[in-house]
């Protein structure tokens, strides 16, 4: 019988008091209110740990880097106690065939009852040869591992949307997880990387309540991706007032005015940065004086400059923004109208002369 979370925590020398504090904190960070704290405690006391297999595809490991910096709950607690992270080739000590055997073991022992967390995505070109995992294309390993999983977590922009390796022209055909795996609940946790507490929060929610969190249209947990950066930004007051930083070293920039004109993507980005912040709540991009780059949005690499608000779009291959296209179209049509009007006036004048001549002839 697998140990329960609580048993593991106690074995690790964590007091009941600390355990209950952790439950309250988790309930709060998940936005569930204080009534949920005893329920979390009860679940952790009674449920066997759920095994998690953490796979790495085409990625940069920034998700793992973020994850291990979680402060609430501490990743130490998540990895060592709450989650039975049975396989993570970056974090675990085992290697080679011994390590690969764990995947097979988990698949057999916990069939239909384990979670697959995917960091990165599978490239599909050249039969998936651009990403090799244990001597085989990653896409094969991913499909096999997910086949008997209960649910799949897509960590970061890579697994959720494709990120930089899927940016145009996407030479390896890097493909988001949900376009390769079907028939399983998939939770997208975008961001490059996602916020540590968001990652551990999602895992904690799934382990404690034994169900996936409520998702939005793009498969993201509503509790963390329900609002835009802009909606909770502490500089929002300056936006509404019409006060903007117009250069990186101007007065507005020094006064902490809105970074909208510097290309901040806060108004088009769904994430929890402006409320949860980063590095245990120390700071976050806008607070440090740089606009949001929209890293948790689909295809953010292909949405034009990070430093423009009206960004370029590439509908016909040529790169230009809505204003350039619009002004060119309006200018061309305006010129055409002027020319047309001139020709019309000329033609009419000529016709008039003709008419008056015929009229005169008629009178005669």
């Amino acid at each position: 019988m697998t140990e329960t979370f609580y048993e593991v925590l106690r074995r690790q020398g964590i007091t009941r008091r600390s355990f209950l504090k952790f439950c309250s904190l988790t309930a709060t960070s998940l936005g569930l209110g204080s009534a949920a704290a005893p329920r979390i405690a009860h679940a952790l006391e009674n449920k066997p740990r759920t095994p998690v297999i953490w796979l790495h595809g085409l990625e940069c490991t920034c998700c793992s880097e973020s994850f291990i910096r979680s402060a609430h709950p501490l990743t130490k607690d998540v990895v060592l106690s709450m989650l039975s992270l049975d396989y993570d080739d970056t974090l675990m000590a085992a290697a080679g065939h011994q390590a690969e055997a764990i995947i097979e073991e988990v698949k057999k022992k916990y069939k239909g009852n384990y979670i697959v967390a995917v960091e990165g995505n599978p490239p599909l070109n050249e039969d998936g040869m651009f990403c090799i995992h244990g001597g085989r294309p990653f896409v094969e390993v991913l499909k096999e591992t997910c086949a008997d999983a209960k649910a799949i977590i897509s960590w970061g922009a890579c697994a959720s949307y494709g990120c930089v390796q899927a940016a145009k022209p996407n030479p390896t055909r890097a493909t988001p997880v949900h376009k390769v795996i079907s028939g399983k609940p998939i939770i997208n946790v975008p961001g490059c990387p996602p916020i540590a507490e968001v990652m551990t929060g999602v895992v904690t929610y799934m382990l404690t309540f034994d169900r996936i969190p409520e998702l939005d249209r793009q498969g993201r947990p509503k509790m963390f991706y329900g609002q835009r950066i802009h909606d909770k930004c502490y500089r929002r007051g300056h936006f509404d007032a019409g006060q903007f930083a117009e250069a990186w070293d101007d007065e507005g920039s020094r006064k902490g005015y809105c970074l909208y004109k510097m290309g901040c993507k806060g108004p088009t980005t769904y994430n929890a940065c402006s409320s949860m912040r980063w590095n245990g709540g120390v700071s976050w991009p806008v607070q440090s004086g740089h606009g949001c780059i929209g890293c948790s949005e689909e295809g953010f690499w292909d949405k034009g400059s990070f430093y423009d608000r009206v960004t370029s779009i590439t509908p016909f291959g040529a790169e230009s923004n809505a204003d350039t296209i619009g002004k060119a179209a309006a200018g061309t049509v305006g010129a055409a109208i002027a020319a047309h009007a001139a020709v019309t006036a000329l033609a009419r004048a000529r016709q008039k002369t003709g008419e008056s001549t015929t009229e005169k002839q008629g009178e005669n």
Binding site: Q227, R228, D240, Y257, F300, T311, A329, T344, R348
Partner: protein, 234 residues
């Protein structure tokens, strides 16, 4: 309504003026309200994407961006409700009211008239034809560059509005799907702005064509959208 002096003027030249009631009051009212909304929407929309220079003073004492966005949203609601009202009138109104909502694409005669109008605008035809409603070319333009585009602007616009209104709002339930469908919030912003430019370019053509035809063709245009009566000059 026919102006007395027009009739006298026409009679002096041995010509007669006849008129037909084309645009009913709701259509005319909608046209001008819609025009006003579009002006407000284009100007405020431009400044939402590219805001005015920073205002001095405390943030709490200013609300410039807030007012600009308010004007945009208010005009957008009027525009959208007006469009719905206009659809209703296309159903209950006279047959001219239906013109901008459907194209008789299976009608060969209509197509030949489209090409006739094209030749007329290219100075290849000497005498223009008379039409009671829109000429076929105008109808084609109105359908794509106003009706279809306006619906697109309403959909993208409300989708963007739903981002502020929040998950679960009716704007989100009805239009929220547009954002992932078009490739994300930033893309929808860009397309909405591009739509504004196309609409403004259409306005240029529309106003020019109306003025030109009012002078050149054998029927009234601008006064028709005020009085509702189409007057034929010969």
């Amino acid at each position: 309504m026919i102006y007395k002096k027009d009739i006298l003027e026409a009679e002096r030249h041995g010509k007669q003026v006849r008129s037909i009631y084309v645009y009913e009051a709701p259509v005319r009212l909608w046209h001008w309200i819609n025009a006003a909304c579009m002006v407000v929407l284009a100007v405020t929309g431009y400044f939402i994407g590219k805001p005015l220079p920073t205002v001095p003073g405390e943030a709490a004492e200013n609300f410039l961006m807030g007012y600009i966005r308010f004007a945009h949203f208010a005009a957008a609601y009027i525009f959208a409700v007006g469009l719905l009202g206009r659809v209703y009138w296309a159903i209950v109104g006279n047959h001219h009211a239906k013109q901008i909502f459907k194209l008789p694409i299976t009608n060969g005669q209509w197509w030949s008239e489209v090409f006739f109008e094209l030749r007329w605008y290219l100075f290849l035809e000497k005498t223009p034809k008379k039409y009671v409603g829109h000429n076929p070319m105008a109808q084609l333009m109105m359908f794509f560059f106003f009706t279809v585009l306006a619906v697109g602007m309403v959909f993208t616009g409300f989708a963007l509005y739903s981002e502020g209104a929040g998950v679960g709002s009716w704007q989100d339930s009805l239009f929220g799907w547009v954002i992932p469908a078009l490739g994300g919030s930033m893309q929808v912003h860009s397309l909405h702005r591009l739509g504004m430019w196309i609409m403004m370019t259409f306005v240029l053509v529309h106003v020019y064509a109306a003025i030109r035809e009012d002078i050149m063709s054998r029927q009234s245009l601008i006064s028709t959208m005020v009085s509702g009566w189409r007057m034929f000059k010969d």
